[in-house]
Amino acid sequence: MRADYDASTALLEQVSYALNEGVALRIQGGNTKSLLGRPLNGEVLDTRIHHGIVSYDPTELVLTARAGTPLKEIEEVLDAAGQMLPCEPPHLGDGATLGGMVASGLSGPRRPWAGSVRDFVLGTRVITGHGKLLRFGGEVMKNVAGYDLSRLLAGSFGCLGLITEVSLKVLPKPRQCVSLSLELGVAEALRELAIWGQQPMPISAACYDGQALHLRLEGGEGSVQAARQRLGGEHLDNGFWQDLREQRLAFFANPAPLWRLSLPNNTPPLELPGEQLIDWGGAQRWLKSEADAETIRRVVSAVGGHATRYAPGDDSFHPLPAALLRYHQSLKRQLDPQGIFNPGRMYAEV
């Protein structure tokens, strides 16, 4: 573990310099999420100089760390105390940082049952487009004073300010975790998931890979064993979920472009060219397809979802309706009036 280091002054100086010189900044930690969003120019601002866990009290269920802290370090510290980040954030490479986790807002297989990255954000420190280091939210579970800027920053890809520190709610690890596979057709798998979703089942991950439905059960010994017996199926190694989260399953080796489809959880099987892998119990589907963006987005929009391409390009994120885009621009202008933070990373106009 590297020595902790508070580099907020240096980060503030770099932002002030950018404001004074009118230079755009490209905020970067481990650079593991660069395949998402539009290509950026601008000077690199490396958050990794600002790292270290600031406070962690397992009985408070709160961890506060600087943005450049490696995610791996945080997970190790939590693990040693029998706790975890319930949203299971994907690293997508070595050196992923806390700042990148929050700025990208990506969550792993447990997301539909436990919540997303933003659900666990309690507070942030942020350097704004006015060159100020400010604090929003805090280290308490409930806090409705002022606007919830901390959660707004989650998933904003650095476009609204530079996150320097984050407080997260963490949870105890479940006492028991087992996984299993059931050989089912896709329609049947989705049908079963819809039924189980209405019952108090200890499911914490559900993925259909074209041949089998893979399930993870987490909870107390009693509920997990009972569900395991009820469902039957073949034993599955728990490592499967990490491979899914990190896109290391064979499905992801397909050379076609990767798309993430976010859908209402009870969407029936979607007809699209290419191959699909169902995650999040149906609410997230991975697509490997050569089809053009317009075709994919038309099909996905028609069922109330949206599609993100996991490859850099001009339209990696699903386009916004005109009115909504206008409020995005308005918010960007207010919070980053000179447009120095990752301009255009999400949308050309923002």
């Binding site: 400010l134 280290e139 308490v140 002022g146 959660r151 949870l171 105890p172 010994e221 009693g222 919070l335």
Partner: protein
């Protein structure tokens, strides 16, 4: 201290000609019900914080979203302030009307549009009551998790505006964690959708920003909430302690044992006695504090957890631990807690309910601080506490008929909130800032932070027509309040006059 809108501190409001506006509204919206006479307006002069009252200029009661759209467009064009309100049960004056503004009552939008068990969501109009959603989902063994104690009356639109909580937040989250999608109208009368039918939406997380924004950014026109399967069983343990410190430590011990209870509540002796007198819940009236710990989920897990929690409570020094024997006793244990406010109302002519949050480890220090303030101000304070998530509800007992007592109650309330900020907490956990805590915002945030909040507001409503004067204080008010230098507890707060 007068907390009503003060143009000197809160900014000038546009001057509106009531007769002209009324005539114009009637022409543009002939089928809209508009209240304008003094006796008709009277019932709308306050929300759940009834100590603060202002007569609205006009009250409108639309029944179709198109009417709201036309109304907002007109108000935007004519520069007329608008305060939106649902059931009006809020406790921070968030729906307090303006003399120079329209009160937009959304209560008639009370239809449940869709309950979709397979999709585990319900789509409802903003005036639907919180509890009505769970009732509509009950035939499918599903429910809507956030359960503010006003759930029988409060509406979901107001829950979104306030990011309402309840007693089960530690495990099941606040309103923001249980929403999929919110349709809103902006002050320009533009319809936008925040969130989506999927678990996320492209772009910035405006749904998170909007939730808890207290009607400052837009008006809620439709809400899609997540539904959860009802827990198979719920069991409640009641533990008595001879000191609040021990009870506070026991809470940390339960969590350290890896258990997240569905509910975890603490009451101090004054609240215990008041509740017991009122409800006869079977509480031990000689205990310094009690903990109520509810464990819910699948039967086998709940049994195991009960045994674990019982052992933890005993090890933490509980003088007595009781498991509710049956559903009737469980309901009784909860009834005492859920009726703590009216119970306190029986032992005091008036009470004032506070809503601060603190890191749990600071509980002994804050309770000691409250006891000292109580002595200093000569007013009794009963404490009920969502112990699991650090949300305190000190109840300040006073008599409004005794000259000066209301002012003293407000003053001690302000001090308690500043104490919460000093230990790293927040001035409001679930009731909102509204008008009530507008001054304490200056203690929790510095001027740059408040300036950024105003920037967020300007992105949606640059003319500040939606609910002006709520949630975010002007810098002028903070300067006058004089607490700008008390920030994040870095400095002890000085003795300040409130006015």
């Amino acid at each position: 201290m007068n907390i009503l809108y003060d143009e000197r501190l809160d900014g000038a409001l546009p001057k509106v000609d009531k007769a002209a506006l009324l005539a114009e509204l009637r022409e543009a919206l002939p089928d809209l019900e508009i209240l304008h006479s003094q006796e008709d307006l009277k019932p709308y002069e306050c929300d759940g914080l009834s100590a603060y009252r202002t007569m609205p200029m006009l009250v409108v009661l639309p029944e179709r979203i198109e009417q709201v759209e036309t109304l907002l467009k007109l108000c935007h064009a004519r520069n007329v302030p608008v305060v939106a309100r649902g059931a009006g049960t809020g406790l921070s004056g968030g729906a307090l009307p303006l003399e120079q503004g329209i009160l937009l009552v959304m209560a008639r939008f009370n239809r449940i549009l869709e309950v979709n068990p397979a999709g585990r969501f319900a789509r409802v109009q903003p005036g639907v009551r919180n509890l009505a959603i769970s009732q509509a989902a009950a035939p499918y063994d599903l429910y809507y998790a956030p359960d503010p104690s006003s759930q029988i009356a409060c509406s979901i639109g107001g829950n979104v505006a306030e990011n309402a909580g309840g007693v089960h937040c530690l495990k099941y989250g606040l309103t923001v964690h249980n929403l999929l999608k919110v349709d809103i109208l902006t002050i320009e009368g533009e319809r936008i959708t925040l969130g989506s039918d999927a678990l996320d939406a492209p772009g910035f997380d405006l749904l998170a920003l909007f939730t808890g924004s207290e009607g400052m950014l837009g008006v809620v026109t439709e809400v899609t909430v997540k539904l959860l399967p009802k827990p198979q069983v719920a069991k409640v343990l009641l533990a008595a302690f001879d000191s609040v410190e021990k009870a506070g430590r026991a809470v940390g011990d339960i969590i350290a044992a890896g258990i997240i209870p569905g509910g975890l509540e603490m009451m101090d002796n004054l609240s215990i006695r008041a509740a017991e007198d009122f409800i006869h819940a079977g509480y031990p009236v000689d205990a310094a504090a009690i903990l109520l710990c509810e464990l819910d989920g699948v039967e086998a897990d709940v049994q195991e957890d009960c045994a674990r929690v019982e052992a933890v409570l005993k090890a933490a020094g509980a003088t007595d631990v009781r498991l509710a024997r049956d559903e009737a006793e469980r309901a009784r244990f909860w009834a005492g807690r859920k009726n703590a406010f009216p119970a306190v109302g029986r032992i005091s002519p008036d009470y004032y309910c506070m809503d601060g949050t603190i890191p749990r480890r600071e509980l002994p220090r804050v309770l000691n601080g409250i006891a000292k303030l109580s002595e200093e101000f000569g007013l009794r304070v009963a404490n009920v506490f969502h112990a699991g998530d650090g949300n305190m509800h000190p109840l300040i007992l006073f008599d409004a008929n005794v000259p000066g007592e209301l002012e003293r109650a407000e003053a001690i309330g302000g001090k308690i909130l500043e104490l919460c900020v000093e230990v790293g907490g927040s001035i409001t956990g679930e009731h909102g800032v509204g008008r009530e805590k507008i001054n304490q915002m200056c203690a929790q945030f510095n001027s740059d932070e408040i300036t950024l909040f105003h920037a967020v507001k300007a992105a949606f409503d640059p003319q500040r027509l939606l609910n002006p004067g709520k949630n975010i204080p002007t810098l002028h008010r903070c300067a006058e309040f004089g607490a700008m230098h008390v920030h994040h507890g870095q400095l002890p707060f000085p003795e300040l006059e409130r006015f």
